[in-house]
Amino acid sequence: MNLLKTTSAAAIVAAAAAFTGTGANAANICFAFQDLETEFWVAGHMAITTTLTEAGHTVLERNANEDANKQFEQIKDCIAQGVDAIIVIPQDGESAVTIVKEAQAADVPIAVFNRPPTDTSKGIVVVADNKTIAETAVDSIVEEALASAPADKTLNAIIIVGDLGDPNAVGRKDGFYAAINKHQDRFNVVEVASKWDAATALANLEAAVTANPEVDLLFTSSDFLFPTIRSVFEPRGLWKKRGEDGHVLMAGLDGDKTACQLIKEGYVDATGVQDLYFEADAALKGVLEAIENDEAQPNVLIEDPGFALTQANLATDEMKMWGCILLAGE
């Protein structure tokens, strides 16, 4: 583990230790995740498991491989094993409701990390404010696009939408439209489905760009799709750095390593950042506090306000973004 990763993890450990130092015993925590298909989930997984194990807790890891039914069975298995608490990254919003209900029926405190249940009133729900984060990121490129275009020109915007069964994807889509609709008459929007799959995004984006060759701005609902966007844009001369002729204003969401690198290089203009370490810390604190207080069914909604890293605040806010922290450590 490099220095920065260690520092970040240590910060969470210190925070958790400060809390657990009040007398919490070593606990058995079930950590069930749907998969680790993007950098965000990998980093979140590392932050949670490292913090828990370094604080002396036992972690039962369960990977559902993107199968909601399998995850539900894994949760039931964790409960049967008598875990003290559960942290779950659910497959989708609906299955999360069932999982939380099952855990609470068995009096096991449960925290839902980053992907919210459709009913956020039950369990410790730690969630990024996807709509606001997306809106902030898109606002920055919308303003820039409008500033550099003639007042009577209609601009073409593309949004790459995630899996519509995922509340995060829906929140990000809503945030995009919240920004665009402030200047509704100035934008022609093309929606591209990705289903969080690079191959689907590749095919659909190629079709969208063929149908609408003139692209003024693009928002991807996840940073992990930037390499796919590059594959489509590069042969068409649309993959250009800021200041170069043909540059398409681009924003993403997550705040991963790739996005950090691309913002620094000038290919990407902004990205909405989920404060991964805040979210991991909040989930851990929530379950450990519940164990400490013998609280079987804690219900609290913790929102990560996030922020947007843009070309304007890159110099000052770079190291607030988890992807930049990981990148700097490589």
């Binding site: 998969d35 680790l36 298909e37 993007t38 519509l164 489905a193 191959a199 079709a207 969208a208 063929t210």
Partner: protein
């Protein structure tokens, strides 16, 4: 008059897939004329090539009345192994491609051994290897994204005389598969086995050897398909290829391959894959609401399969009429 109408309807039913294809093209063309541009059509065929290559391999398996559910996992694992060879051993892209295909052959051989030697039915075998292969790949990557060397993207985005490389590979695979199926003894054996396994055995054909080879061919095609697709993106994530088996099977079936064996062709798979991709990309092109897209796709595929089913019945009826003329 009635006879000419009958002839026309017979022609339409015999070529139902092509007729549906033409209708789909016409509909999207009317909605968005640029859909029929050379660039758009070329893009459709290019995007169809990835599933199409795997669908050609799947056709071999379907011809023997088998099924291979592990193709999506092979599309993930084989390029991953090639990626390690390219990144860690520094092998060039062509060698990487060879490694991917050979990995596909190996994975197909595992399927073949389980099916032929242990006599486990293909559905169960390949369902198990779907999880086995994907699980192995996930373990190798520790669920992290895998970045390929930059050269692979240069290969994936390259063209030969203006034709994208994936299209050329697709054409070569389709042609080779057509030659094998239509003009070789092995091809005739595959059809014979699919039509009547017992009859083929009685005719002295080695059923085991035929079955083994079709599963190896299928996995090799899936591996090649995965490699060509990854060559477009340059990065592999753990969800890569997930669910692709359904697209691949749908493409082969839409192209006329029967799930009961004995019917199908390489070019049919090409048409099926291209039809599916046309429908999918047409929905994007015409700006259909994202929530409606899966419904529309499902409906169009359903209609295509339904018409194909009617065609089968009609052709059987025609055959009956020929045997016992009224």
């Amino acid at each position: 008059m009635i006879k000419s109408l009958e002839k026309a309807s017979d022609f339409l039913f015999r070529n139902a897939t092509y007729v549906i294809f033409a209708c789909v093209l016409l509909y999207y063309g009317l909605q968005a004329p640029s859909f029929l541009s050379v660039e758009s059509l070329s893009n459709i065929v290019k995007q169809a090539s990835f599933i199409g290559i795997a669908a050609i391999g799947m056709t071999f398996v379907l011809l023997t009345a088998g099924i291979d559910l592990s193709v999506g996992a092979v599309m993930f694992l084989a390029p991953l192994i090639a990626g390690y060879a390219m990144r860690d051993l520094g092998v060039p892209v062509p060698v990487g491609l060879l490694v991917a295909v050979l990995t596909g052959v190996l994975l197909g051989a595992i399927n073949a051994i389980l099916i032929v030697r242990l006599k486990v039915v293909p559905f169960i075998t390949t369902l198990a290897t779907l999880f086995l292969f994907r699980g192995f790949g996930t373990w190798l990557t520790s669920s992290q994204q895998f970045d390929f060397p930059e050269e692979i993207r240069r290969f994936g985005l390259s063209t030969v005389l203006g034709v994208p490389t994936p299209l050329i590979v697709f054409a070569i695979v389709a042609l080779a598969a057509h030659v094998v199926l239509a003009h070789t003894a092995f091809g005739r054996q595959v059809y014979a086995f699919g039509n009547s396994p017992e009859g083929a055995r009685k005719a002295g054909l080695s059923a085991e050897w035929i079955q083994a080879r079709v599963f190896i061919i299928c996995s090799a095609c899936a591996a090649l398909s995965g490699f060509m697709l990854i060559a477009q993106i340059g990065r592999l994530d753990v969800a890569f290829g997930e669910g692709s088996e359904f697209d691949v099977i749908a493409a082969a079936v839409l192209g006329g391959a029967s799930l009961f064996g004995g019917i199908g062709s390489a070019f049919g798979a090409v048409v099926g894959a291209t039809l599916i991709q046309t429908v999918k990309l047409g929905l994007v092109f015409t700006g259909v609401n994202l929530y409606l897209q899966p419904i529309m796709l499902g409906l169009i595929i359903f209609v295509a399969v339904l018409v194909d089913g009617v065609r089968e019945k009609r052709l059987l009826a025609l055959l009956k009429r020929t045997i016992r003329p009224v």
